[in-house]
Amino acid sequence: MVSDGHPAARILVVEDTPTQAELARALLGSLGYQARIAPSAGWALVAAREWQPDAILVDIELPDYNGFELMQQLHGEGIDAAVIVVTANASISAAVQAMRAGAVDFIVKPYAKARLAVTLANVLEKRALVAVREQAETRADRDKFFGFIGSSAPMRAAYRTIESVAGSKASVFITGESGTGKELAADAVHRASPRASHHFVALNCGAIPRDLLESEVFGHVRGAFTGAANDREGAAKLADGGTLFLDEIGEMPLDMQVKLLRFVQTGTFSPVGSSKVERVDVRFVCATNRDPLLEVRAGRFREDLYYRLYVVPIDLPPLRARGDDVLAIARHFLVTFSREEARRFSGFSAEAEAMLLAYDWPGNVRQLQNVIRNVVVLHDGELVTAEMLPPPVYRPGIAVVPPAQAALPIAVTRGFEPDPQSPATPAAVASAPSDAWQGEIVPLATMERRLIVAALRQTDNDVPRAAALLEINPSTIYRKLQAWRALGLAI
């Protein structure tokens, strides 16, 4: 829940001889690194999974299995820490063997502090450069964006909004169905912002009993209520300098909304049971799977709080509106879960892909994740076939057109022999000549206005997203809107 900024690099020392382990720990500590000791390869694997070190110093001879096998295991689990082999054998062949096994450097024992310092500095600098390059590539191709996967037009629009708003302190209000990645979006806003080195504190307002919510947000002092044995800081204090993410804010009781409004307006609060006023610098990101304006109209959400928080809206599209993102996300989960469950899966059959695309995913990405986990746990093979998909994704008797044959979004057809003459089949639609427009012919300017207005309606008047859907510059929409208003045209 809480992400630290830039702590000292973490170094895991895999060493079973206490003298050497303690020497390494002392040297690393004096160099300003965080160090942990693993006395065996098994311990090292557990520590690497949980602690996620930046670098691992590996002794070759270990009590359970050797350092080279450990490196294979680390690699197999996708642990990307830089591995440095520490060996008493200074031969060239030992160095070559270490590098072939995936080590990025090696140190001969016994080693001096200066040698350790230089090796680690080089390795960590190289690792940081790789991370920066990967992040730059990620941003450039937009197949991935922080924790998101997918390059569909509505997601690219969401990425752009996140990047645009990240640098400001403006409150962000994220809407979207359950499972669309609202917390990922909040996390991306934080990580892309200048606040990234401070805490991101997430609080699920719907999961906390209403009696405890105020204490969770503002903290409490000892004796404030039964069971308050000590002073405790709340999310507001923990998020000072960073981002406070209030998930499911629509579930917040009205009396608590009053207190939150005061906090949002003034940046000050008092812990429960205290009269002391504390001031913090917090950026608010809220989320809900309901329509916030409907909640206001129904009297369940304070209008003044709504206008305070609903400054920059981000509407995350449901998975069914994200086209081929379904496949990109499914492949990502397949690779991850296959690695975890030691399965051989490397992809999906064409029929399985078509079924994934045809399903409407009411539970969104979370449901897709569960479906792929189900497949990987229950089956094995090179390809995931349609029959491996659990119901309701797999629907026997329903044939879908494999993606390679369909130029338009996949349509589900009954039976295994779809009628090629039917206008409802994608094949028929795809084969229609591009100039066979059967609709009303209107002036081009009218059609342009209709399209822009439709795009704005579809995106709740989010101009950047509407522009992304139309593949035009947002400034074009602003200019057109201004011109139409000047002409007195209805928009």
Partner: protein, 114 residues
């Protein structure tokens, strides 16, 4: 501390508190690992002997006890080929370990005095 330059470097790298701690750990390692070596030699346990000799060699190397380290590395090779000679090798290791511990005590005393 059989190698003065290494000891001086270690003292400079670690500082007195950490150096004292490492040397204490080394003292415990020597006591524990020579015990394991003796048991392995008496039981003709080549694998156990080699493993303990490797650990003691590493510990000795870390604090600059070169003679002990080298003898332990020779013993590692012997464990695989000359199983009958392990007891004799053990006697040499015992002597070198005692030397190292005496050096260690002198070094710690000098640290305490400085």
């Amino acid at each position: 501390m059989n190698e003065p330059s290494f000891a001086a470097q270690l003292a400079e790298d670690l500082g007195p508190a950490d150096l004292r701690h490492v040397l204490e750990v080394f003292g415990r390692d020597v006591a524990r690992l020579t015990g394991v070596l003796r048991e392995a030699a008496a039981g003709d346990d080549a694998i156990g002997f080699r493993r303990a000799a490797h650990g003691l060699a590493g510990a000795a190397g870390a604090v600059g006890a070169r003679a002990l380290e080298q003898e332990c590395r020779k013993a590692m090779a012997q464990a695989e080929t000359k199983l009958g000679e392990l007891s004799a090798t053990m006697s040499t290791i015992d002597v070198l370990a005692e030397d190292a511990m005496r050096e260690l005590a002198r070094f710690v005393a000098a640290l305490d005095a400085s």
